[in-house]
């Protein structure tokens, strides 16, 4: 069923290969940026993917890009479709879809704050959402180290011991190494 939908859309919107490796009823597909809005509109109005499950980003720092994932759900056919969009990491500007799904405005506010991806035109996108008085880099980026930040901000209580399970088991099983 997913294959039929994909075949209908593939040539018109130059979609990438269909990735159905994960589970039944879920597929991911790569998408070019200029086709985002037409594909989303087509999926919503014609193919019945009316429910936007989530919109989130993955930071592929080694490839210098962000991946935006738009997950849509078709309840009648029980299909989930994820659209993957690549953004340049140094010039992260996404396209707002709050007019297609008003609830996307919240997701875009979060991405703006947590990844530093700009969504021009999205309502209240520059207001503080979760953090307050944050001056460092957006915290969900891969190069932000939460442990280092925490140790440079708050002091540990004396006497606190942490033991890494991997090192601990190594000491017990192979004490000589």
């Amino acid at each position: 069923m997913m294959q039929a939908i994909y075949d209908r859309l593939k040539d018109r919107f130059q979609l990438g290969a269909l990735d159905v490796r994960s589970r039944k009823g879920l597929a991911f597909v790569d998408l070019r940026r200029e086709f985002l809005r037409p594909v989303l509109t087509e999926l919503r109005d014609v193919e019945g993917f009316t429910h936007l499950i989530l919109l989130t980003a993955v930071d592929w720092i080694e490839d210098e890009r962000f991946q935006l994932t738009y997950l849509l759900n078709n309840r009648q056919k029980n299909l989930d479709l994820g659209l993957r969009l690549r953004l340049d990491r140094n010039l992260a500007i996404g396209e707002t879809i709050h007019d297609l799904w008003p609830t996307a405005a919240t997701y875009q506010r979060e991405l703006r704050e947590m990844f530093g991806i700009a969504f021009p035109g999205s309502p209240r996108v520059d207001e503080e959402f979760i953090l307050e008085g944050w001056t460092d880099m957006p915290p969900y980026r891969r190069d932000f180290d939460t442990l280092a930040y925490s140790q440079q901000t708050h002091a540990d209580r004396e006497g606190r011991e942490t033991s890494d399970p991997r090192e601990f088991m190594k000491q017990i099983l192979y004490p000589k190494d």
């Binding site: 490796r21 994960s22 589970r23 009823g25 879920l26 991911f28 009316t50 429910h51 936007l52 499950i53 989530l54 989130t56 993955v58 930071d59 994932t69 997950l71 309840r75 029980n78 989930d80 994820g82 799904w101 008003p102 609830t103 405005a105 919240t106 503080e128 959402f129 979760i130 953090l131 307050e132 915290p139 969900y140 891969r142 932000f144 939460t146 442990l147 399970p165 991997r166 088991m169």
Partner: protein, 392 residues
């Protein structure tokens, strides 16, 4: 002649596009913060209200008071180390996080879960749903000033927590469902003790029906208040009981059966009014479904079997590159985990899709204008929002 309709002749008229020009300098409007320290809030969040008289003309939700950065913390923990922290994302119903995370990891690592563990997971999830509804209905009655129902239902929840304790060893954070299966077997005599709990619950719920659901004040304050147009369900991502109250039988348990829900016999209750009354009523009827499901599960429970599948050495567990999305029907709506792996021993990215994310932000801000200040608490509780899901 006394009228229940408030006198709105002194109120400013909306502009031609139906929107009010809000200018605080005129003195007609007042900013009012409800929360984070407010008994009527469903947790640690706040709503910034602009009021004119006792009518709210604008509401903005402010969240972030409970942000711990789970999605970041999980990026630096190995797959098994993520398992004890995921349940802390949602307090009233922690098991959903454990299930969704475990199922996502199993999906990407290609692990087949034993039949016994699937039944056990379903049982745990239904018990958690029961508990979460108890909090919701108790909170609903509390928001309207009917404290006694909250007391009764907290007691019922408490005796259910005793069963949780017997099964998992903990009251709130069970950490029972881990990638690969569950932690233990059903104890001896558990079924009888659970039956006692369910009987007590039914006795208390019969009383709640009399005291709360047929109470004239309760009906008057909830019927017709907080109406959500069913047309808005799709654009605003409304799922779960909030959608079912508007006549849309959205339920992941039926739409995309997971675990053993396809072997169980149940109906999804729906209402059509789509107001506070209908939403609470759907939850009340869903408790009956949940009680029935727990009985069915315990009846059909396998006699014995493996609780855990074979999993690799967890200290060196690497999962090949891939991404997946696992969803389930929590008591508040569709709950899902989006997991991305990159072939290393740590998740690349975990995104938690909590139902409150859409309900408490865009939807609540849409519903608040036009309500009375005293109804804001009831409106929030009726959406069953829970802030840690929004900010994680």
């Amino acid at each position: 002649m006394f009228s229940f309709q408030p006198d709105r002749s002194q109120y400013p008229a909306p502009g031609p596009d139906g929107k009010l020009e809000i200018d605080l300098e005129t003195g007609q409007y007042l900013k009012l913060w409800q929360g984070p320290n407010h008994p009527g809030m469903t947790g640690n969040m706040s709503v910034e209200l602009t009021v004119c008289g006792d009518e709210v003309v604008e509401g903005k939700t402010h969240v972030g008071y409970l942000h711990r950065g789970f999605e970041k913390l999980m990026e630096r923990r190995s797959f098994i180390q993520c398992f004890p922290i995921v349940c802390r994302i949602c307090v009233p119903e922690p098991d959903f996080n454990e299930y969704c995370y475990a199922a996502a990891v199993e999906n990407l690592a290609g692990i087949e879960v034993p039949e016994y563990a699937n039944w056990m997971r379903t049982l745990i999830l239904e018990m958690g749903r029961f508990n979460s509804y108890m909090m919701a209905i108790g909170g609903m009655s509390g928001a309207l000033g009917l404290g006694v129902v909250g007391q009764w239902l907290t007691y019922v929840r408490d005796i259910m927590l005793d069963r949780f304790e017997e099964l998992t060893g903990a009251r709130i954070y069970h950490m029972f469902i881990l990638p690969g299966g569950v932690r233990g077997h059903l104890p001896e005599g558990f079924k009888d003790r659970m039956e006692e709990v369910l009987k007590t619950a039914e006795r208390y719920l019969a009383d709640v029906d009399k005291v709360m659901f047929s109470n004239a004040v309760y009906k008057r304050r909830t019927k017709g208040v907080g109406y959500i147009d069913p047309k808005l369900f799709e654009p605003y991502g409304v799922t779960g009981p909030n959608a079912r109250a508007g006549g849309v039988a959205k339920d992941v348990r039926k739409d995309a059966p997971y675990l053993v829900y396809d072997q169980l016999d149940f109906e999804v209750p729906t209402e059509t009014a789509s107001d506070i009354w209908a939403r609470t009523n759907v939850r009340r009827r869903d408790i009956d479904v949940s009680i029935d499901l727990i009985r069915q599960i315990l009846k059909k429970f396998p006699k014995g079997g493996e609780v855990m599948a074979e999993i690799p050495n967890v200290l060196h567990w690497k999962i090949p590159r891939g991404e997946t999305y696992i969803k389930g029907e929590s008591s508040r709506g569709e709950y899902g985990y989006y997991l991305v792996t990159d072939g290393s021993g740590y998740p690349r990215r975990v995104n938690v899709r909590g139902p409150s994310y859409t309900h408490a932000m865009a939807l609540l801000e849409l519903l608040i204008p036009g309500t009375n200040i005293s109804d804001v608490a009831a409106l929030m509780v009726s959406l069953h929002t829970y802030p840690p899901e929004i900010e994680r």
